[in-house]
Symmetry: C2
Subunit: 320 residues, 2 copies
Amino acid sequence: MRVLITGGGGFLGQKLAHALVRRGQIRGRAITAMDLVDVVPPARVSADIPVETHARDISDPAALAESFRHKPDIVWHLAAVVSGAAEADMDLGYRVNLTGSWNIFEAARAAGNAPVLVYASSWAAHGGEEPQVIEDGVELNPQTSYGTQKVIGELLLNDYSRRGLLDGRGLRLPTVSIRPGKANLAASSFMSSIFRDTMEGRRSNCPVDRDFPVWHTAPRTVVANLIHAAEVPAGDFGANRNINLPGRTDTIGEMIDAMTRVFGPEAENRITWDPDPVIEAIVTGWRAHCKPGKGARLGFQADKDFADTVRWFIADDIAR
Amino acid sequence: MRVLITGGGGFLGQKLAHALVRRGQIRGRAITAMDLVDVVPPARVSADIPVETHARDISDPAALAESFRHKPDIVWHLAAVVSGAAEADMDLGYRVNLTGSWNIFEAARAAGNAPVLVYASSWAAHGGEEPQVIEDGVELNPQTSYGTQKVIGELLLNDYSRRGLLDGRGLRLPTVSIRPGKANLAASSFMSSIFRDTMEGRRSNCPVDRDFPVWHTAPRTVVANLIHAAEVPAGDFGANRNINLPGRTDTIGEMIDAMTRVFGPEAENRITWDPDPVIEAIVTGWRAHCKPGKGARLGFQADKDFADTVRWFIADDIAR
């Protein structure tokens, strides 16, 4: 199986690539080649199979066609301009998140082998007039350009799947926390940095209150679910290829308390609490509660405790 | 007020143009100029105000920019490749219905005057895993490329409205019956032709059974609702600019019986009943029942009796 990961240089793409190398197989067959694509050159991944890394912009169809020349069997499409950046630069967000995703689906169509295509949609798909507790089947009413672009990708994924041009599986990822690396322009960036940065010895600001609830999932869980998404039989998805991925709800305060239990009290003391109205306006529009019926039925994993997330972050990511 | 109608050469665009000319004002101010745009030159509309007609393809941004040079105050975006054609020619449908609508919204953005933009979405937005009776707030799961493209337009409309780039109002039109003119490649075409053609003395085939239910609306009602959509205060729409337009449910048999009551029995005798699996596959995926809560609250009109539709068709459209 040839596999392709867009956003292959991002933390999630890299974790997925390493997990696939460790696993060695997918859908019951050996992984024989891997291609990582990102707008900047992805870090190399050492493996016994050929791993190519390419700096390619998904908004450029010609560059992208190169990645589909070898007809990948499975594509994980993770590349995106994050929420805050897509809100600040409307043209950039639409070019990468809408046109870029459409380019991916068109490249898959042109390849002609109807690849399995796992699409990272986002919790930002939800908002506006939706109920406070999200269940399957609510009208998506995103209140950011990023969320809008992600939902448009879902609709394209579903139509291209219905036509048999690809075999799409769209996952609305909860906020992924704790992300390694640096803070970025995602409005949710602080939901990682208040843990990551403070455990690594730096100060970090929390722009919302302790009682702010978050629908979140751990990187390990997301990687497992991204792989599971490729394994689910196509027919199990029915007429809608896009699902709410399981996650869990904790308040910021509960998450901090879990960190303190695992790591000790010194990290929390490095958190500052200055409100940021721009970030608050975006994240308070998101929903914090979900009952992911179809996602659970299809066997996707939920997190059990944010303390696990802290332990996994310490084991997998922390700068030692 | 300068007004612009895309799809201004279609039967709905023409009826809307004539209704606006008769009305003379919109949103409390006089209509001072009208621009009709369509892929083929729209029929001229006589009026005391300047009416321009242009053959322009909305998938060509440069041509479209010309239509926005005068900064229209109100735009009705009706232009589309119909459902059957968008299903048969995937590239054409996506180019006009997705890229073309996006071009319209971008042209409105570039004009800089945040025009009121009434967008004709479609009942084809619904399908798949949705409940049999559509209420507000159900996840849109279209099962045609046309429906997919219409929903993508809704999402763009909402995001551009949220950003204040335009003032969008999206209406999911029930099947419009009885349409004048010729049969087209819309899968719903027969839902007009079995009435229109038979009353005009021609034979017409019905590809579904008499007990097939249809969620429909009359051209007069749709035109009134398209105008009303421009009049509703922006704030009344809330965070979701797209609504299910009121309509009514009748079976094909009930509609035929209403025609017979108004017109006499000779038309029905011209209907043939040969099944068409391609059309049936599309239209049986649509929903036939709806409770349009927000649309009714915002003052949009519903049809009371298909017999009215037959009378209006005879008065407005029938070849005499």
